[in-house]
């Protein structure tokens, strides 16, 4: 779901960079709450997200998708840590590997990092009392769908595609791609369930 260069209009580029820069700056201020002993684990998690995003799964004829990971990291470490992890992953993908456009970096961090971090985090925390696996699944699944929705709106606003048909196709694909995200989020949150509670940051919800 990495938007390349050449798709977004100047106002959309400026707007998404502005929103993303503000959010990343705020998340950086919040980074002081990340306990010292958790920083290496966060680094390992970022590495895991990077390699996971390299592997595309076929989801239907001629269409593949990869994990995003923002919801998962947000559930385990809080939304601000997740924003920083996703920002690091996307900056390296863009500048070292040419995955995602330089002009679209603000949009890509917003769509795949910021949305997933906050939406995933809050969905999980509102629904976990009902069922932890269901809450984790929905956090992952919805984060992908909303990321695709945001990408479609940004590309649509740039005026290069017919808005509604493009949006419809994007949401169709990503509602299927998101199922993989949901299942993996569910499996990993379940595997780390005991740890998750211990791992909770005191200031996550501030």
């Amino acid at each position: 779901m990495h938007i390349p260069d050449g798709l977004l209009s100047t106002p959309v580029i400026a707007g998404t960079y502005l929103i993303t820069a503000g959010t990343v700056l705020y998340a950086s201020k919040k980074a002081k709450d990340i306990p010292e002993e958790k920083i290496p684990l966060l680094g390992l998690t970022a590495a895991a997200i990077f390699v996971a995003q390299m592997v595309n799964f076929p989801v239907m004829a001629g269409v593949s998708g990869h994990l995003l990971g923002a919801a998962l990291v947000a559930i385990l470490f809080g939304p601000y840590a997740s924003v920083l992890v996703m920002t690091a992953v996307l900056i390296i993908q863009t500048f070292l590997f040419g995955d995602g456009g330089v002009t679209a970096l603000g949009a890509n961090i917003f769509n795949m990092g910021i949305i997933g971090a906050f939406v995933g985090y809050y969905i999980y925390h509102y629904l976990k009392k009902r069922s932890i696996p269901l809450a984790a699944f929905l956090a992952g699944w919805i984060s992908v769908i909303l990321g695709a929705l945001a990408a479609s709106i940004e590309i649509g606003l740039s005026g290069i595609v017919p808005f509604v048909p493009f949006l419809t196709l994007m949401l169709t694909y990503h509602s299927v791609i998101g199922v993989i995200e949901g299942v993996l989020t569910m499996v990993l949150v379940k595997a780390l369930q005991g740890e998750v509670e211990k791992e909770s940051l005191p200031s996550e919800v501030n």
Partner: protein, 83 residues
């Protein structure tokens, strides 16, 4: 916390082994772009690629993972220091 290291370490190993089986289909966005005849206009040449064999793919993964986790680690350490 030790369990989390084991889980994410295993996760990384599994995904490295999956690299040669990765789908070459375009992803959802790329497919939608093709559908509406929208093409990218690259303005930047990246120094590396994800590789097209298992070995080059693994090398790309190792470099990417090292740089991502290194940068994140240093960045969080520095921001904590500043704060």
């Amino acid at each position: 916390m030790k369990k989390a290291y084991i889980v994410f370490g295993t996760f990384i190993l599994v995904f490295i082994l999956l690299i040669p089986f990765a789908s070459t289909y375009p992803d959802g966005l790329e497919n939608a772009m093709e559908h509406f005849s929208v093409a990218e206009h690259a303005i930047y040449n990246a120094p590396l690629s994800y590789g097209d064999t298992f070995i080059t793919g693994v090398i790309a993964a190792v470099i990417g993972m090292a740089v991502v986790s290194g940068i994140l680690y240093i960045y969080i350490k520095l921001t904590k220091k500043v704060a």
